[in-house]
Structure formats: structure tokens, C-alpha cells
């Protein structure tokens, strides 16, 4: 199919040219304006290699949305810099308001043609990264007319990486060369490609119907095998990454619970809502930045962290003071009361912010990803979450094991009355500990706002998983929580491609049920008499 494409393009170009030659005086602008919507992209592609001033202006007018269909639908109007409208053919000013007219649509095909159009100009740009992305864009547009341009740039290019990229891009075009030797050398070049799309370019060269030369066919098959092998390695890397990434999301959701449930013994069904409030805190901070410091917008997330922590910390303390305090020693009752709290928090948020999800934008430094190969991109937001989790984890660990508060918290959980009787202000400790667990959940919420939905029900989606993680790891065991989360994440991602998301998850739950058989108290269980 790919082989036909250039042919098809060439034919349509021919057709277009003959059409154009008919309309002797047609300016590029009116040519573009009157082109059939389906052909507009082709026209721009054709112009890519022969861009001149008027054509550039015409393209710019389309791109900037300054071309409108007139109200009667028969004319195309251009909006000048002064906002006035004029007919593209006659140049006559026309009365009317652009706001009520439909602009000529810039659809995907036009947009990619535009990209290539600009890229051709950028090939000589002094900025190396711009040159690289230009090559990428041109390679995607697969315009055979570009070959001479690419080859000549290859001669002039100083940077070896850019030269290599040009080499690859021209090799793709050379696959269609009538010269078998050239095809062969192109295949050898492409064998090193990390882009899986190369496979579909090579595929026609392996069958006799489209490739007469046997040696070329053999080379193409070999190249495909090479590419597949390298793809496999990237796949594995991808699985590992997404496993760890899912693991850290789970961990983030479970960490606060490891404190409120693992240590305080409060089955906190409102834990998810703390995540949710944390996420809404980032939403609010984001909006404040939008309206007050738009210049510093990218920093909003950093500001959201302390805010989310503070808000959930305070809410957590208040809940402890008002409700949970009265339920210590009645763990199962805490489940009911916190479930009630959770319902109320959800509804409160729904009434404050609406039932619909709210938009939380990734700051630009978290948008996009680190492209390892065209097939494998590690999104920045997920990378950031992994790092963030590590940080929060370290803090939590220090707090619990290296501070007196941590010691007191653990003592109070085990024997409240006695802790009081050795001099621990249990009320304060409970409050701080619950606030802390909630605060950590709030921090988690900030991170979750970067990868998923922010809506009143955000927390509900994490509650089962969080409990599973804490239980699998062993209640009260931070190391267990980490292992549990990472284990679940990675196993999940290994199973998902073959079984699908749902069956994989079911299998894991079944596996956990069986696993707990062997270690009823979790991965990192306490042993010994302590349990009686």
C-alpha cells in the first residue's frame, strides 16, 4: 500500500497542476482557498519543496484561521491585519463580521502538511533540536519530492546525529527507488532503526509481488528480524517501567493508609477522600496561579504540595478530634463512621466544585515524555511520580522510625491506656498521627491529579487497591507496603498485555487470596507471641 501512495500523490498533483494552469491568474491564496477540502493538504505538500513568498502568506492565512467561508457559502474571504474582510479572488473589501463566519477548517491532513511545510524550512535552522524535529516531521510526511532536499542537507550537515537522522529519513524514501542497489543500501540503513513503523515500510520488500530482486527481499527480511529483536527489548523495558509506575501510584495511594490503618488501626474508608481533597487542592492552587501569576504557572504544582498537605492534615486532625477519637478500640465501627465521612466529603466536594470532573493541567515540565525510541516514550508525569513516591516514602520512614512521635504513635496503637500511663499525651499523638496519614494521602492526591481524573469520586477508585497493598504487605510494615505495591504493579503489567486489564487484575486478586494462605499476615508479617 505504501508503495502506491507516492504514485497516487503524484497523480493527484498532476491533476491539480492541470487544473491550476487553467485558471491562469489564480493567486496561491485563491488557489488554496478554492481547493477541494480533500486536496488542500496535497497542495501544501506540493508547495513544500517550492515555497515562495505568496505561498507562504497563503499558508499562513489558512493556518492562522484568517480565511472564512462567506455567509452564502460561495466566496472565500480573507481577514486582513486590520480585521477587515476582503474577497480572496477579487481583493474587494466585503462587509461582515468574521465572528459569525466559519473559518476554513484546518484538519489533521492539512495540519500535518503544514508541519512538513515548515519543517522543510527548518532543516537549516541553527538550532539542532529544531533540525531534528524537522527531519522527524518530513519523514512522517513521506513526500518523495523531498529526497533531493534531504540528500543535499546530508552533505552540509555537521552534526553527526542529525546527519544520521537525515540518512534514515532519506533511506525511507529510497526504498521506493527503482535502483535495486539503492534499495538495498536503504534497507541496510533502516535495519538499525528503532522505529516500528519501519517494519511496515520494509514488509512490501519481502514479497515477490512487489519486490523483484531476491537479494533485496532477503535483506529486507533480515532487517525486519533485526528490528523486531530490538523492539522486543524495548517492550520489556516498557513493561518494567509501566509496572514500576503503576506500583508507585498504588504506593502513593496506600502510604497514608499504612499510617492511619496500619498504625492507628483505623479502617479509614475516607482515606480515598483525602487523596481526592489533595487533588482538588492542586486544582484550586492551579486556578489561583492561572488568575494571579500566569507567568509562574509551571510552578503551581510545587506550591500545591504544601497546600494539599496542610489542608488534608488539618481536615484529618479535625476528623480525629471530632469523630474518630471516640471510636478507638472499636476498629470495625471506625469503618462505618469513616464511610459516613467519606459520603459527606464526596457530596460536599460535589456541591462546592460540581459533580463533573475538573481540569488539572500538567505543568509543561510534566507534559510529554522522554522518547527513548519512537515505540517507547516514558511520560514525564510518571517519571516524576516515581521520584516523588521515593521522597515521600523516605520522609515517612524517617518520621516513624527515627522520631519520638513515631515511637509514641506505635505505642499508643498497641496499648492506649498504658501509653497514657507512662506519660504520652495520647490525644495529641493520635491527632498528629491521623493528620499525618491524611496529609500524606493529600500529597498523594496532588500526584494522582497529574495522571488521572480529578472528580468527587476520585478516591473511591483507589480504596480497594490501597487496602490490598497494605494487607498484602503486612499491616504496619512500611517495607511490606512498598514490596506489596511494586509487586502488584509489576505483575499486573506483565499480565495485562496477554490477558487484558480485567482478567489480569482478577488473576492477581486470586493470587493474593492464595498467597495469604501461606502467609496469613502478609509479606512482611510479624511473627511470634506478639500476635496473641
Amino acid at each position: 500500500m505504501q508503495l502506491f501512495k507516492p504514485l497516487f500523490l503524484r497523480l493527484s498533483l498532476l491533476l491539480l497542476m492541470s487544473l491550476c494552469s487553467g485558471l491562469v491568474a489564480a493567486s496561491p491564496l485563491s488557489e488554496l482557498a478554492h481547493a477541494d477540502p480533500a486536496d488542500r493538504a496535497g497542495l501544501i505538500t506540493q508547495w513544500t519543496v517550492q515555497a515562495d513568498g505568496p505561498r507562504r502568506q497563503a499558508v499562513a492565512a489558512l493556518e492562522e484561521g484568517r480565511l472564512f467561508t462567506s455567509a452564502d457559502g460561495n466566496h472565500v474571504l480573507l481577514q486582513g491585519a486590520d480585521g477587515k474582510l476582503s474577497d480572496v479572488d477579487s481583493g474587494q473589501p466585503v462587509a461582515g463580521d468574521a465572528a459569525s463566519l466559519d473559518a476554513l477548517p484546518v484538519n489533521n491532513s492539512v495540519r500535518s502538511a503544514l508541519e512538513a511545510f515548515h519543517a522543510a524550512g527548518d532543516l537549516a535552522d541553527p538550532d539542532r533540536s529544531k533540525r531534528l524535529s524537522a527531519i522527524q516531521a518530513l519523514q512522517d510526511s513521506a513526500n518523495p519530492g523531498l529526497l533531493p532536499l534531504l540528500l543535499s542537507r546530508q552533505q552540509q550537515e555537521q552534526d553527526s546525529q542529525v546527519r544520521q537522522a537525515l540518512h534514515m529519513a532519506s533511506a525511507r524514501l529510497q526504498l521506493a527507488s527503482p535502483d535495486a542497489a539503492q534499495r538495498l543500501s536503504a534497507i541496510h540503513t533502516l535495519a538499525d532503526s528503532a522505529d516500528p513503523a519501519t517494519l511496515s515500510l520494509l514488509a512490501p520488500l519481502t514479497v515477490a509481488a512487489s519486490e523483484p530482486e531476491a537479494s533485496v527481499r532477503a535483506a529486507a527480511s533480515q532487517a525486519m528480524a533485526d528490528i523486531k529483536a530490538s523492539q522486543w527489548r524495548y517492550n520489556m523495558l516498557g513493561y518494567a517501567f509501566s509496572g514500576i509506575s503503576l506500583g508507585s501510584v498504588l504506593l502513593l495511594a496506600a502510604l497514608g493508609l499504612a499510617i492511619t490503618y496500619g498504625l492507628l488501626g483505623v479502617i479509614n474508608m475516607a482515606h480515598g477522600e483525602m487523596l481526592m481533597i489533595g487533588a482538588y487542592a492542586s486544582y484550586v492552587v492551579q486556578n489561583l496561579f492561572r488568575s494571579w501569576w500566569p507567568g509562574a504557572f509551571d510552578a503551581y504544582l510545587l506550591a500545591a504540595l504544601p497546600v494539599a498537605f496542610a489542608v488534608t492534615f488539618v481536615i484529618g486532625m479535625a476528623l480525629e478530634r471530632l469523630i474518630i477519637r471516640h471510636l478507638y478500640g472499636r476498629p470495625l465501627e471506625t469503618l462505618l463512621a469513616t464511610w459516613g465521612i467519606s459520603l459527606m466529603l464526596i457530596q460536599a466536594v460535589r456541591m462546592l466544585f460540581g459533580a463533573q470532573n475538573v481540569e488539572v493541567a500538567n505543568p509543561s515540565w510534566l507534559s510529554g515524555g522522554w522518547e527513548i525510541t519512537p515505540a517507547l516514550t516514558l511520560p514525564y508525569n510518571r517519571l516524576a511520580i516515581i521520584a516523588f513516591v521515593a521522597g515521600v516514602l523516605l520522609l515517612t520512614w524517617l518520621l516513624l522510625n527515627k522520631t519520638r512521635l513515631g515511637l509514641f504513635v506505635r505505642a499508643v496503637t498497641q496499648n492506649r491506656r498504658m501509653a497514657d500511663s507512662v506519660g504520652v499525651p495520647t490525644g495529641k499523638v493520635d491527632m498528629l498521627a491521623f493528620g499525618l496519614g491524611s496529609g500524606i494521602a493529600g500529597l498523594g492526591g496532588v500526584a494522582l491529579s497529574q495522571i488521572g481524573n480529578v472528580g468527587p469520586e476520585l478516591g473511591q477508585g483507589y480504596i480497594v487497591d490501597s487496602f490490598m497493598v497494605v494487607v498484602l504487605g503486612g499491616v504496619g510494615q512500611l517495607a511490606g507496603t512498598v514490596t506489596g505495591a511494586m509487586g502488584l504493579g509489576i505483575v499486573n503489567k506483565i499480565l495485562e498485555p496477554s490477558l487484558g486489564a480485567v482478567l489480569g487484575k482478577i488473576l492477581i486478586l486470586g493470587f493474593i487470596i492464595l498467597f495469604i494462605q501461606k502467609r496469613p499476615q502478609g509479606l512482611f508479617a510479624l511473627k511470634g507471641r506478639v500476635l496473641d
Partner: protein, 366 residues
Amino acid sequence: MQTALSLRLATRLGPQPLKLAAAAALAVLLAMPALHLWTDPASSLHVSAYTLTLVGKILCYAIVALAMDLVWGYTGLLSLGHGLFFALGGYGMGMYLMRAIGHDGNYQSDLPDFMVFLDWKTLPWFWQGSEHLAWALCLAVGVPGLLALVFGWLAFRSRIKGVYFSIMTQALTYAAMLLFFRNETGFGGNNGFTDFKRILGYGMAAPGTRATLFLLTVLLLIAALAAGFWLVNSKFGRILTAIRDAESRLMFCGYNPLYYKLFIWVASAMLCGLAGALYVPQVGIINPGEMSPANSIEIAIWVAVGGRGSLIGPVLGAGFINAAKSWFTVAFPEYWLFFLGGLFIATTLFLPRGLLGLLRRHKEKA
């Protein structure tokens, strides 16, 4: 221990005056189907189909709450997965009802509609025989029972208890929900089963069918209560409470808690299954949403609000909460979650022994 003590204190307070009220409630329930069938719709005594199905539904919930209380209130096993057994029972009945639609579905096929849109040509093996109500009822009771047996055996054998048990049951129902959400599983996916036409040849919407189903539900509730009373007042019941309060001590008395837990657990699951089987024809739909962890938590809440460790309590709780829910969602659609949430908090804070405790305290004072 604190809870165990107060629980026990709760159960020891005499339920005598409550019995009168219970008997009155029973009489009303038994009269309802008659009032539905034989009074003039315009008369103030008439019980509408709406009321009848609503109350019927709540009664099914009450049975579930009772089943839950046997394992939680008495045995100390907080199951966060009881909704699963209920739903499985419902699916068993639902299979029959789907088959009973016959050719009257959208596609006028032998197969249920959802199989048609999945392009299935034959009935999967586990649907065999579901055209017989008796077999469907066996499934409705047997499948939850079997699942409970296997899961319970695994869990109790390795002495999983307390929160571990709760979380595992939650995971179980969650896994089942995910499984049933898949269309390939063969139970209609997210849609579940609905649009039933008839049961044993009687139209689903016929007043007689409604009244009969309702009556059966009331009878099942009475039977369950009676069996429950007998169980918890036997030595078996005392062993259950001993398991709740000091399981390891019981072992050194020579009792193997495994079989006791398994017995009550399976019995409870089967009772739920039966309740589910009666629920589906009355509400007219069953889908995996019934298996969501939130539903199962709610069951626990009915029990807690009503008063755990007594038999009337859960029935009361299920009735009260669901009635309140039905009313609040109409009267204050936007605020009902606040009311509901506040109710849970208030009961746990101020009524540790549930509504029943409140009634009893009232009696004591009087």
C-alpha cells in the same frame, strides 16, 4: 474486649417488649399482598405495586443483613463481600428469567439478547438447564454456598481473620465484579439481566405474581429469623460468640473453630443467595453493580445501625436505612448523602449498640 463486653451487655437486655412490635410488623407485612390484590386502587388501604416492590426489595435486604449478622455480629467475621453471594443468587434466578423470555427479546432468538450481540451461536455450558426454575434455584443457593465453602476453607484453615478477612472478602467481591463486568464472561456484562417477561408462565408485572413473590420474601424472612433464633440460642451459637471473643482459647478447649466458622459462613452465603433470588424478580434487574465493594459495606452498615449481635437489629437496620434512603433521595436529592453519612456517624458515635440498643435503653428507663 471492650466491644465484646458491651455487645454482650446489649444482647442480655431483655427483648421482651420488642416482640410485640415485631409481631405487629409481621402482621402488616403479611397483609400487604392481600391489600395489593384485593383493594380498590383508589382506596387509602391500597398498597401500590410501587410500595410492594419497594418493601419487597427492602425485605430481601433485611434477609441479607440477617445473614451478615450471623457471621459478623455473632462470629466476629466482618465480611465485606456479602454482596457477592447476594448477587450470585440473583444471577442464578436471573438466568432462569432470561431464558423464560423465550423468543420475545429484541432479536427473537433462542439465546438471550446479549449473547446475540456478542455473536454467540450456542448457549455456554454453564447456562445449560437454566430454563428450569428448580435448577436455577439450586444454582442460586449452591453457587454462593460452594464459593463460600472454597473461600472459607482456604481462609479459615490458614486462620485469616480480623481485617485480613474483611479485606480478602472485599477483594473477592471486587474480583467477581470485574469478572462479571466483562461481556465475555457470559452474564450480560455491565447490563446484567433485565427486561424479564414472565416467571413460570405468569407475567412479571401481574399483581398476583408480585404478591406471591412478596409473600415468599416475608416467609423467607420469618424462616430465617426462626432458624437464626434457634441457631444462636443453641450451644452452637455460644461457640460462635466464643470464636468471636477468644478463638485460640476455644481451640484449647478442644473445639476446632474451622468447621464452626465454615458452617455459619456457608449457611450465611446460601441465605444471601436465596434472598438474591427473590430480589431479582421483584426489582427486575441484576447486574455486577450489586457486587461492588460499596454495596457490601452498606450491608455491614445496616447491621451496625440496627444493632449487631442480635437478630432483630439487622432487620431493623436494613429496613430503616433503606426506607430513609428511598425517602431522602426523593425529598432532598442533593442532600441525601449528607443525611446518610451523618446517620452512620451518629449511630456509631451515639448508638454503639445500634437502633436496637436505643430502643432497649428507652425501655429500661421507662
